[in-house]
């Protein structure tokens, strides 16, 4: 089939998936009762006007009285052009609210991802090649610890210890610092640690398991028999294990981060996407809920696309025609 065609095919699928997902979301929204509408109608009813009329007015004003297909078209066009609705709790377009919050999520998200991937794979690989040694047991312990411990409790404990008692780090996030300042870096340390522990743990376990598959493989023996150094042998193992590891790399990590970030942001009061989403949900801000839910979905789709392509690049055995 050829790689170019394969990539094009994958991208096309990604677009189809996006389209389907957006349509489904629209469908769900269309049948969900609008809280604002209910509230408006209630208010009007309290003041003596007709609730039905109030509903109709509301719908006319917000443009929700048109035929379903028109609304669908408008919605889809809006999605593509960046008009994601109006956030009534923040009095700004939803997309602006997202754009404001996103950088904060990235600020701890990127270091946490990088740290967990590098450290996770590194520790996993080391564990696999030094099986049954103390280092291996220590790594496994760390993994279980990281996976078992609830992030929000861990975050609070860290704040208590390092911020309140020891005073090394601030106990909450102060947005007044510039992005690239040392103060900003300091206040990001604890959130990054909290987020990484779980991610490192799962990444490490997986990397260890996949590497173990190959540690005792015959080609490893062949490499040693050639006179290769241990370091070169580890590179060989990693190359072979990188294929299955890459399959979870993108999807898993991102998924993990986007779930955990709610708790981290709430605990540390970082005004990122998680906190935004949390507040939008509790305050019934539909447009904002939609926007903040869609972001992770897009990330997941793109992530899967990247992963699919990476997989075929890494493993020459895969025949494009089979997929």
């Amino acid at each position: 089939m050829g790689m170019g065609l394969y990539v094009a095919q994958r991208v096309a699928w990604a677009l189809v998936a996006t389209f389907v997902m957006l349509s489904l979301t629209f469908g769900l929204l269309a049948v969900t009762p609008d809280a604002q509408q209910a509230q408006f109608a209630f208010q009007q009813a309290q003041e003596g006007a007709s609730a039905d009329e109030a509903r109709e007015t509301y719908q006319r004003v917000t443009g929700k009285d048109g035929p379903l297909f028109d609304r669908y078209k408008e919605y889809m066009i809006g999605m593509v052009t960046g008009d994601w609705g109006w956030s009534h709790t923040r009095s700004q377009p939803a997309i602006e609210a997202v754009a404001d919050a996103y950088p904060y999520s990235l600020m701890y998200g990127i270091p946490a991802t990088v740290l967990s991937v590098v450290a996770g794979i590194g520790i996993g690989l080391y564990s696999a090649t030094h099986q049954y040694t103390k280092a291996d047991y220590a790594g496994t312990f760390l993994a279980f610890f990281g996976v078992s411990i609830p992030n929000f409790w861990f975050g609070i404990m860290l704040i208590l210890l390092f911020a309140v008692h020891l005073g090394w780090f601030p106990s909450y996030y102060d947005t007044s610092h510039g992005v690239w300042t040392l103060a900003n870096a300091k206040q990001l340390v604890l959130p990054v640690i909290v987020l990484s522990t779980a991610a490192i743990a799962s990444q490490m376990r997986y990397a260890r398991a996949e590497s173990l598959e190959y540690v005792h493989a015959d080609f490893v023996k062949t490499a040693r028999a050639k006179g290769a150094s241990e370091w070169r042998v580890i590179r060989h193992i990693f190359r072979a294990a990188s294929v299955p590891i890459s399959t979870i790399l993108v999807a898993d990590i991102l998924g993990l981060l986007f779930v955990a970030s709610y708790l981290t942001e709430v605990v540390f009061q970082i005004p990122g996407l998680g906190l935004l989403s949390y507040r939008a949900i509790t305050q019934n801000d539909t447009a904002l809920v939609l926007a903040t839910t869609l972001i992770p979905v897009f990330v997941a789709i793109v992530g899967n696309l990247v992963q699919d392509i990476a997989y075929t690049v890494l493993d020459p055995r895969i025949d494009y025609g089979d997929r």
């Binding site: 049954y132 040694t133 005792h216 493989a217 015959d218 080609f219 023996k221 062949t222 490499a223 040693r224 028999a225 050639k226 006179g227 290769a228 150094s229 241990e230 060989h236 190359r239 072979a240 294929v243 890494l314 493993d315 020459p316 055995r317």
Partner: protein, 351 residues
């Protein structure tokens, strides 16, 4: 052939420490390989033949494996005393390895050419182009048609027999003095096996090297061995030239093994009993619980010292070949033996 053997293994002991006990995989094994000759180590599973061959260049996983004793003298140097770095110069450089399963022996994500080139450049100061040319030449010499084109192919694009040829090419990359081949043809079809064995013979002449071949197949032994070492449960039972051992088999185990061969017009006689537990091997001769000729001495002390059977180089670890015993008893009793002498009362595998 020089006076000193190229490889001299003396009283090699390799144990594996596991939670379930210490497995004495190789428990005092000695044999020589002279220059230019082919030595076959024969045994069934659990005999320790693979572990012995891998101990020579310390390829066994350590932990849990551990070479607890003996020496492996290669061209005057005891390999067991070398540091890892020093040993690595021998591995691939002067001693080449071929393993059993061609399927897994090559890295699935590197081209075969690259894998041969790696072997070359680990020991020689060759430029990329020079290494590439040598690799193509090697592929050609092991019988891969269209070698230059196939240099860039991946292992999965080769058939089983072809893969094994590539593995051999990798092993020969640096013109080793000794090639250690562990069951190189077991995973292959019988017609391909014949081709590979022939290839090994031809290459041995061409490269002027010694071959240590591990196998369970006595037919393979007959086909290419100069000398034979028969192993059982971590010890050597019999040693000699291929004619001595196969035409005049002297150890009861060797005899039993030959009797187990099928397809000889009804002469197949199964051997009763089971392989001993490697964590708790029998005292005295390891084979005595299954041996139809066992006497009390056989269970006492250690594996019997080597006695001679017929010619001076033909050694047998059996009390019947010591002074005071009549070795012909083994052959006579064997002829008259019925099934009742073979196997135990517990029937079946007796475990």
């Amino acid at each position: 052939m020089g006076d000193e053997p190229l490889l001299s293994v003396r009283d090699l002991r390799t144990y594996f420490r596991t939670d379930a006990g210490t497995i004495r995989a190789v428990d005092g094994v000695s044999f020589d390989v002279r220059r230019g000759e082919t030595v076959c180590v024969v045994g069934e599973s659990g005999s320790g033949k693979t572990v012995a061959s891998e101990s020579i260049t310390r390829l066994i996983p350590m932990p849990p494996g551990e070479i607890v004793g003996g020496e492996v003298v290669f061209d005057g140097v005891d390999l067991l005393s070398l540091s890892d770095r020093e040993l690595r110069e021998y591995r691939g450089g002067r001693i080449g390895h071929v393993f059993q399963n061609p399927q897994g022996a090559l890295h699935p994500m590197h081209t075969v050419g690259r894998q041969i080139v790696e072997a070359i450049r680990l020991h020689r100061d060759a430029g990329k182009r020079e290494a590439r040319e040598r690799a193509i030449d090697l592929l050609d010499r092991v019988g891969i048609p269209d070698a230059a084109a196939r240099f860039d192919d991946y292992p999965h694009e080769f058939s089983g027999g072809m893969k094994q040829r590539v593995v051999i090419a990798v092993a020969l990359a640096c013109d080793p003095d000794l090639l250690i081949a562990d069951e190189p043809t077991t995973a292959l079809d019988v017609t391909i096996q014949a081709q590979i064995l022939r290839l090994l013979c031809d290459l041995q002449e061409e490269f002027g090297m010694s071959v240590l071949l591990i196998t369970h197949d006595l037919g393979v032994v007959a086909e290419i061995a100069d000398r034979v070492v028969v192993m059982y449960a971590g010890k050597v039972m019999e040693r000699g030239t291929v004619y001595e051992v196969l035409e005049n088999p002297s150890h009861p185990y060797t005899l039993a093994l030959l009797d187990c061969l099928p397809g000889r017009g009804g002469a197949m006689r199964p051997l009763g009993g089971a392989l001993p537990d490697p964590r708790d091997p029998p005292s005295g001769c390891r084979f005595h619980p299954r041996c139809p000729h066992a006497v009390d001495e056989c269970g006492a002390g250690d594996q019997p010292a080597m006695g001679t059977a017929g010619s001076p180089g033909h050694e047998v670890s059996c009390v019947y070949y010591h002074d005071g015993y009549d070795e012909s008893a083994i052959r006579e009793r064997r002829a008259a033996d019925s099934n009742e002498g073979v196997g135990r009362a517990d029937g079946g595998d007796g475990r």
